[in-house]
């Protein structure tokens, strides 16, 4: 039993199989894409596996500490960023194989022309509690 994070990338990831850019989708195609992910969320709740699922706004900024008493340094909105996370789903599943299967299902969300997007999802295991002492 482990938790896995599936990260979706707007850009910065590998190119999807269906490479039509997002802004060229028809409203119906976009609606079908969103509906697929909502249905999938519901399936993962029903299977007792969903931990969380969120989409992220496109706009964002880089922020960092710039010394005591100074305002943070802000760089944005994402003028030069190469990597942009679109959102995530976190699941808790019985096996790595199951995590692969769920990720594959998410990657198959319909895109332009109703064919699967085939996007590359970044699959990462979530850190867990430490193992027991040896012995």
């Amino acid at each position: 039993m482990a938790k896995y994070l599936m990260l979706k990338h707007y850009r910065g990831g590998r190119p999807s199989v269906n490479s039509v850019p997002m802004d060229q989708l028809t409203p119906d195609e976009w609606a079908a894409h969103i509906q697929y992910m909502q249905d999938m969320e519901e399936r993962l709740i029903a299977s007792g596996e969903l931990v969380s699922s969120e989409g992220l706004a496109m706009e964002g900024a880089w922020v960092r500490f710039d010394g005591e008493g100074r305002p943070p340094v802000v760089d944005g909105p994402f003028a030069e960023t190469k990597d942009l996370i679109a959102g995530w789903m976190m699941i808790e599943v019985d096996s790595y194989q199951r995590a692969l299967d769920v990720a594959s299902e998410l990657s198959a969300a319909p895109w332009a022309g109703g064919t699967p997007l085939g996007e590359w999802l970044e699959l990462r295991e979530v850190m867990s509690a430490p193992p027991a002492d040896v012995g």
Binding site: A46, G48, L50, E92, M127, P131, A132, D133, V134, G135
Partner: protein
């Protein structure tokens, strides 16, 4: 409906009564899924609305309230009108303790049709008597997800009778998995695992169940010394005065009487290893030769790379790091903690550079943040020896 609600104090007693009450409802004619739901309703009612007066017989109270909740549920289902008629005429007799029912519940909740994840969730609810919210909190998942996980598990069990004999080794495996989950928040999951294993030991006459209970007690006894100031403390460096002496004493006593039955198994062998650690006043006084012998014994119950890895570390202590490295080599680097063991043995052998590199590699592969931080500190320590 005027019966007093139990006060918050008996929450633990309430939970202890859960498996038996589920069994009583099933024997009265409820199916397992509905019985379990009804008992959960009664439990939540008791926990949410503590009354001013205590209830002497918590089990009887739970049976009454749960049975009514069950009848309400049946009555609301008009398609089951005929069944309601039959069930409503059942007498509300006082509960009769039936150990077989409780044991049957363990078998049901760990039935082979369930995945380990589902079995753990269902065991925590139907046997340990935790609420869905408590289980969800403990495993850091939303309550809706946990509710569905439990509900699906119960759906998979439809048609499987409570009184079917089950596989005790599977029950033990699930309880051990539960114990090792390691999460804790409001509820100490490891303590819950110990509690339901203790109950199982009463219901069965199997030295391996006692062995499992002893193993859990001996490991849990070290819990207060395992993490200090947010840092993972390895066994050899733990402050042994922090170990829970009562738990160790009990664990050793249970193990000794289990071993006296002369029906050795993997849990007794693992508990014996834990007992040898517990027995050593300091890490240096650990009887590693005997520990290696117990690992050899353990391997006779099933070969596993994890056991071989732990054995290799013990061999390194008993016969020197070179012997340990020789034992570790065939285990293979895909086994969790292989690089940590390799690093440790290299350090003991005085090969500091290799040890530092292996600690760093082990940290890279760690799947626990605490362990990763510990391994990074080891790598750091070897790269920059203190003056």
């Amino acid at each position: 409906m005027t019966e007093a609600v139990p006060t918050p104090g008996p929450a633990a007693a309430l939970r202890r009564a859960i498996p038996e009450v589920v069994g009583i409802l099933v024997r009265r004619g409820a199916d397992f899924a509905s019985a379990e739901d009804a008992v959960q309703t009664a439990l939540v009612r008791a926990l949410e609305r503590p009354g001013p007066e205590g209830v002497r017989d918590i089990r009887a109270w739970l049976v009454t309230v749960a049975w009514r909740a069950f009848l309400d549920q049946v009555r609301s289902d008009t398609a089951r009108a005929a069944r309601e008629e039959r069930l409503a005429q059942e007498p509300e007799s006082g509960p009769v303790p039936q150990h077989d029912d409780t044991l049957g519940l363990y078998f049901l909740c760990t039935h082979p049709v369930l995945t380990p994840t589902s079995a753990i969730a269902l065991t925590l609810r139907a046997v340990a008597g935790l609420t869905t919210r408590q289980i969800a909190d403990a495993f850091l998942v939303p309550e809706a997800t946990m509710a569905q996980r439990i509900s699906r598990a119960k759906q998979r069990l439809v048609g499987i009778a409570l009184d079917q004999p089950g596989d005790l080794s599977r029950v033990m495996r699930v309880l051990y998995l539960l114990f090792n989950e390691g999460y804790s928040g409001e509820i100490d999951i490891a303590a819950e695992a110990i509690r339901v294993t203790r109950q199982l030991a009463v219901l069965t006459d199997e030295p391996e169940v006692d062995g499992l209970l002893a193993l859990m007690l001996l490991h849990h006894a070290r819990q207060p010394a395992r993490v200090l100031g947010g840092r993972l403390i390895p066994l050899a460096e733990q402050d042994r005065t922090l170990w829970d002496v009562d738990a160790i004493t009990e664990g050793v006593a249970i193990l000794q009487s289990a071993l006296a039955c002369d029906r050795l198994g993997q849990y007794q062998a693992q508990a014996a290893i834990a007992a040898l650690h517990a027995d050593a006043p300091t890490a240096d006084e650990t009887d590693w030769v005997q520990i290696v012998e117990w690992y050899d014994e353990l391997l006779t119950f099933g070969d596993s790379p994890v056991i071989r890895l732990n054995r290799a570390v013990a061999v390194g202590e008993a016969d020197g790091p070179q012997a340990g490295l020789a034992a570790l080599h065939p285990v293979g680097e895909d086994v969790p903690r292989y690089h940590a063991a390799l690093a440790y043995l290299h350090e003991r052998a005085g090969v500091t550079d290799a040890a530092a590199a292996e600690y760093a590699e082990a940290a890279r592969r760690a799947t626990s943040a605490l362990e990763q931080e510990h391994l990074l500190r080891q790598a750091e320590r070897l790269r920059q020896p203190r003056r």
